[in-house]
């Protein structure tokens, strides 16, 4: 067996519930740290940033599944749904921290969504995530049919661009880390573009 085959056998043995359990526990661990001084003297901002970064990192992993398989033969596809739903969960936590702990005022939250471009963009990404998360199950694939389901889930491409734009824009200066995420996401999306294939001599006939 090749290395990639062995890796695939190993990955398939990891049960989905374990991915959900470990991934789902991370925000609670962060919350615990923030509440007990483990995130410094300004824990609200630290927690908000941590959860946002976690969401974008997980989204990058989701987007990398297909190119990574093409490149290495190692497939994470059986865990892609769990990773996608975890990313949605992190976004939801990030949003809740912003709403409940940071801004603390629904009127102001609404004003910010309308007034601040980076928040408008972040909120748009969240709203687009809702139908994708809601249809991340076998029943929806059957109900929608694989073609429509796939098209709906290609919204992930748009969401990732909006998400990383939100991340770049929230900084006061052009910071290296958000820009690195932006580049990685653009590269991962570029691998999806189907270039016009040059016909092989056989095909030319």
């Amino acid at each position: 067996m090749t290395f990639s085959q062995r890796a695939n056998v190993g990955l398939r043995k990891v049960p989905s519930w374990l991915v959900y359990l470990v991934g789902g526990a991370i925000p609670f661990w962060s919350l615990y740290l923030a509440a007990t001084g483990g995130m410094g003297v300004e824990p609200i901002n630290a927690l908000e940033r941590e959860l946002g970064e976690l969401a974008i990192l997980t989204l990058v992993i989701v987007l990398a599944v297909t190119p990574f398989r093409r490149l290495t033969g190692i497939s994470l596809v059986m865990h892609r749904r769990a990773l996608g739903l975890l990313s949605f969960f992190y976004v939801l936590c990030h949003l809740l921290v912003w709403l409940v702990l940071d801004v603390q005022d629904l009127g102001r939250v609404w004003a910010d969504i309308l007034k601040r471009p980076y928040i408008t963009i972040g909120m748009a990404a969240f709203i687009l995530l809702l139908p994708v998360a809601a249809t991340s199950n076998n029943w929806s694939i059957r109900k929608l049919g694989p073609v429509r389901w796939r098209r709906l889930h290609q919204l992930t491409y748009v969401i990732s661009v909006l998400g990383v734009a939100h991340y770049v824009m929230v900084q006061k200066v052009w910071e290296a880390k958000p820009l690195a995420y932006l580049v990685i996401i653009l590269v991962l999306l570029a691998t999806r573009i189907e270039l016009p294939r040059r016909l092989s001599p056989a095909e030319k006939g």
Binding site: A34, A35, G40, V41, E42, P43, I44, N45, L47, L101, V103, Q104, D105, R108, A111, D112, K115, R116, P117, Y118, I119, M169, V170, Q171, K172, V173, W174, E175, A176
Partner: protein, 302 residues
């Protein structure tokens, strides 16, 4: 520096606690008079409980050491602050170099407990030790034509790793109008809590202008220049229209990315409530007259 200079003043020496407590009671009494301004002042005074040294030294914006709030504490110990001197030049009668020793022996170091409002909508209360900038400027002999004062931070990329990246134009520069510079609230700070200035807070000497956003408080100063024209300032160069020359704390003028109407005091934990930001950071009575006739919401005056 850490061993050479020890301030024997304690917080209670500098601001007698009885005076502080009495003022508090007085203000509480005045709060009853429902004049908005008076109520605002009462609120302001009650909140002047300083942050802990731990808080003040572990959450900083000092991009010379990195853009994260925790970077300055991690990396600022690389900075050599001895020997240190400030070059004073421009439109002054007595240009020259002031060593830290000159400065500490020549000027009266006193304690000032000030609110510090960051442009990022967080705040602290900091017990600075320092002297009025006006004292230094009068020794330098500012000439009549000088209308502005420019400040410059040390440029030393090998000790300030942030300066190796073009995130801002280095060295960091700031400026004040002459009347702002001469205002008694404007100080050159040389310590916190009676201890020499921690490196991450701008050792060994920095500017503190309590009615302006924190970024005006330029750190680790090596040069002060009196000028006839308004000097460029780092954040206004980085994002014109977002950050201005004045940068007065103003709850009515938002940052494009967030409201400036409220702020969060550092150290309140995970459920810290936001509080209203005060005009001129609560120093309206002292400084509002400097800006009479200016539209403080106009982009050119932010």
């Amino acid at each position: 520096m850490a061993r050479r200079w020890t301030n024997d003043l304690t917080r209670s020496d500098a601001t007698p606690r009885s005076v502080y407590m009495n003022r508090r009671q007085l203000m509480a009494g005045l709060g009853g008079a429902s004049l908005l301004g008076v109520a605002g002042r009462a609120h302001a005074q009650e909140e002047l409980e300083p942050n802990s040294l731990e808080e003040i030294t572990s959450y900083n914006n000092f991009y010379e050491f990195g853009t994260s709030k925790t970077d300055p504490k991690k990396y600022a110990d690389q900075l050599t602050t001895e020997p240190w001197s400030i070059e004073v030049d421009g439109l002054v009668d007595n240009p020259g170099r002031f060593s830290m020793e000159d400065i500490l022996s020549q000027f009266d170091i006193e304690e000032r407990i000030y609110r510090m409002r960051c442009v990022e909508a967080w705040s602290m209360v900091i017990p600075w030790n320092g002297f009025e900038l006006a004292d230094l400027l009068s020794v330098a002999g500012v000439q009549d034509e000088a209308k502005f004062v420019a400040f410059q931070t040390l440029m030393r990329p090998e000790e300030m790793p942030g300066q190796q990246y073009p995130i801002l134009e280095w060295p960091y520069v700031e400026g004040l109008r002459m009347d702002e510079a001469m205002h008694p609230l404007t100080i050159m700070a040389t310590g916190i809590y009676g201890e020499p200035m921690p490196n991450q807070n701008g050792a060994p000497i920095r500017l503190v202008v309590p009615w302006k956003y924190g970024f005006k408080g330029i750190k680790s100063i090596v040069r002060i220049t009196a000028l006839a024209e308004q000097p460029p300032t780092t954040w206004a160069l980085a994002a014109p229209g977002v950050y201005g020359f004045y940068a007065n704390v103003n709850p009515n003028v938002d940052h494009p990315n967030w409201s400036q109407a409220t702020e969060r005091r550092v150290g309140g934990g995970l459920f810290s409530k936001r509080r209203d930001t005060l005009m001129f950071n609560g120093y309206e009575d002292e400084v509002a007259s400097l800006y009479e006739g200016m539209d403080l919401t106009a982009t050119e005056n932010i």
